[in-house]
Symmetry: C2
Subunit: 423 residues, 2 copies
């Protein structure tokens, strides 16, 4: 009698778990549910938002990735509820019992209770948000070119990025590069080099999860690219006119800007609160060393949705390598449980971290080694291409980048409308 394993979410963790379970056709039937039909390579989402890559370059249909996994059925459906007491789940159309379930629903961004800011400062979590940000950035230059009033022209040419983590740093660097390199010769009434890009970080330094030297390096690199970095600046308001800030001493300032991008808080899936299981302060589900929930040994939680304490007391961060390793481990533990073997403790193998700032500019650290500049940038390129799902995407992204590198051009500078009927 084969066991039914349900996986919710086709991100890095969920997809890896499905691939591992696909090798046990005699033991398990797997159902994978995702509200999207594609796996998204989120680390490169900022490239879509800044017109470097097309959506299809960083997304692959989940059912295509799993087409050889004959014991895996993929449904594009939205999870409504999971009831671990009776081992069942319900989605929009599909619902069933399960023997084991893996929750891999990821996270979305949080506006710290100020959800009305979203309208003026979209975050970067989905392809739709990325193309919306792309639309806003490109439209700002188009509007500036048409604008006769010099003050309003300045507002169009001022871009604010909120949040100094890897995504914020990557966005700020890329916007500055677009203005100073890609668009250099394309306008007649404005000089794109007059563009201001302002990166706002509430903490003392950008890339706070990195070693302090690298934070200082990154800030210097951003400056060289023309990005103004404001540290210890707290956003107090975002509206159609721009951003209001308070510095450490509480002194307020306003930045007039038409284009604001949100790269700050993260919030886990709303399903967590419905499960009646222990959550951490951030709302993540606290998992045991086996990656399951203490009270339900057949309920596994992985990736951004999970709170996992490392032996040194640190919580594992929301990174792709963490999700991938967790997905593999959860799948292996399910197989062990089915075989009546004891499940094993999860140990994260540190893959380091890296962030890119611009052309030949990046920072990385790996097992105590720190690197910066061209070497770190090449390493970043290599790692990101290597991990891109599917050979085809790898090849195309590499070519897009080679092309962009040689020509300073960006291939996806399209302003698409929201409504398909809007001719």
């Amino acid at each position: 009698m084969k066991k039914h394993v349900v996986i919710i979410g086709g991100g890095f963790g969920g997809l890896k778990a499905a691939k591992v379970l696909a090798d046990y056709t005699d033991l398990v039937d797997v159902t994978l549910i995702d509200k999207r039909n594609y796996h998204l390579f989120q680390p490169l989402l900022y490239q879509v938002a800044t017109a470097g890559l097309s959506p299809a370059d960083i997304a692959t249909p989940i059912r295509n990735v799993l087409s050889d996994a004959k014991n895996v059925t993929v449904y594009m459906d939205e999870i409504k509820s999971v009831n671990p007491q009776i081992n069942s789940f319900e989605a929009g159309t599909v619902s069933s019992k399960y023997d084991y379930i893996i929750l891999a629903c990821g996270a979305t961004h949080s506006y710290f209770g100020k959800d009305h800011w979203e309208e003026f400062a979209p975050g970067l979590k989905t392809l739709e948000m990325a193309t919306e940000i792309r639309r806003r950035i490109l439209m700002a230059f188009e509007s500036a070119e048409k604008e006769a009033d010099k003050n309003r022209q300045k507002e169009w040419l001022t871009f604010v990025v909120v949040g100094g983590g890897p995504t914020g740093v990557e966005m700020a660097g890329a916007i500055s590069e677009i203005a100073r390199q890609t668009m250099e010769a394309d306008f007649r009434n404005i000089d794109p080099k007059d563009t201001r890009v302002i990166l706002i970080e509430a903490g003392k330094r950008v890339l706070a999860s990195f070693n302090e030297t690298l934070s200082i390096d990154a800030k210097a690199d951003l400056k060289n690219l023309g990005v103004e970095v404001l540290n210890e600046a707290r956003v107090t308001d975002i509206n159609a006119n721009g951003v209001a800030l308070a510095d450490a001493a509480g002194v307020e300032q306003k930045i007039a800007s038409k284009t604001v991008v949100w790269a700050a808080g993260v919030r886990p899936s709303p399903i967590n609160a419905t499960l009646n299981v222990p959550l951490d302060k951030a709302g993540r589900i606290i998992v045991s060393k086996k990656l399951s929930v203490e009270s339900y040994p057949n309920l596994f939680v992985i990736g951004d949705q999970a709170h996992f304490d490392e032996p040194d007391g640190k919580v594992l961060p929301g990174l792709a390598p963490v999700a991938i390793q967790m997905g593999k481990h959860a799948a292996k533990n399910i197989i062990r449980l089915i075989k009546n073997e004891a499940s094993l403790d999860f140990k994260y193998v540190d893959k380091g971290q890296m962030a890119t700032i611009g052309r030949k500019l990046a920072v990385m650290e790996f097992k105590g080694i720190k690197a910066r500049g061209t070497f770190a940038w090449l390493a970043w390129l290599f790692v990101h291409i290597y991990y891109l799902i599917g050979f085809k995407n790898r090849m195309f992204v590499m070519m897009q980048w080679t092309w962009s590198y040689i020509t300073f051009n960006r291939g996806a500078r399209l302003i698409t409308k929201k409504d398909w009927k809007d001719f």
Copy 2:
């Protein structure tokens, strides 16, 4: 004193005119207005609708194409009115006087007065429509996979294309190939080979503008691909349940289908009716042999927006080569007028026509030569890649196609949502 030339529209004709005028920096300043920021390679739009190419593969920013044309200013703006009596135009933000104007606004599709059909049968004119059609086609397979009711499953797997011109033939062939080749191994509850694709044509044959032998060939090729072709079938209704038809004898039938694509009528820009100039029955502006309007020798109309009578009495069709040649000729005539030389008559150099049906299947005719099959298909590939604006796009599209050809795969199978806030 330099003359001010205004071009409305950055399609094949408008862009060509701008490029020609860019060589006369001492004679003219040019303003090009388009409501999009990109030039769209419309002949390949069906490839976006069928997940073969990404939007950015067939679109290039107009201002980037013209970045070296220093006497050309590009505005992304929507034309509101043209007043040829006082030589002025007004757009959303920009407005000005002109010495010469070239209208190159193209055409959109027409539902023959049944605009409420659009909701259920989107046409293929813009990138947004193409991604909407792609969304519907891919969602149909996803919905069929989830559907327990066999009848409703069939409705999801039935696709109707209305209109047997090149676009309709290309769409029908591509949908059938997706089902039978690309998605073959990706589903567990349905067999994509059960997909029905029905091409509806009101006239006696598909590809009516081609030689009759080629129409018969194309129909046979479509049949081999699994497409059912209905000739002399008139659409009487389209709604959420499918399409109602009447045959030549008036006998009605209904086709239950969840996915209908409109590839039938064409209607020119609504601005035509506001100009008080002679229009043909289809609403196109009737132009003289000089490509200008009889009453306004400084008002030129080109491409799909123009009605041009050939010496044999035929009207030039809405094809890219026609628009390109007209754009070049209109620009040359403007330069001649500025130099006080007599303007010249336009003569269209026939570039033939071609349509692709599927993998190694195409038809073409050129100066009386007819071809079919692999040769025609290779010619089609070559011509379309050659004319793709910009070297980069050419290279990437060629690679996408090589990839698709080798693997039977399609790179852009993304179902993106309409609203970016829809997480």
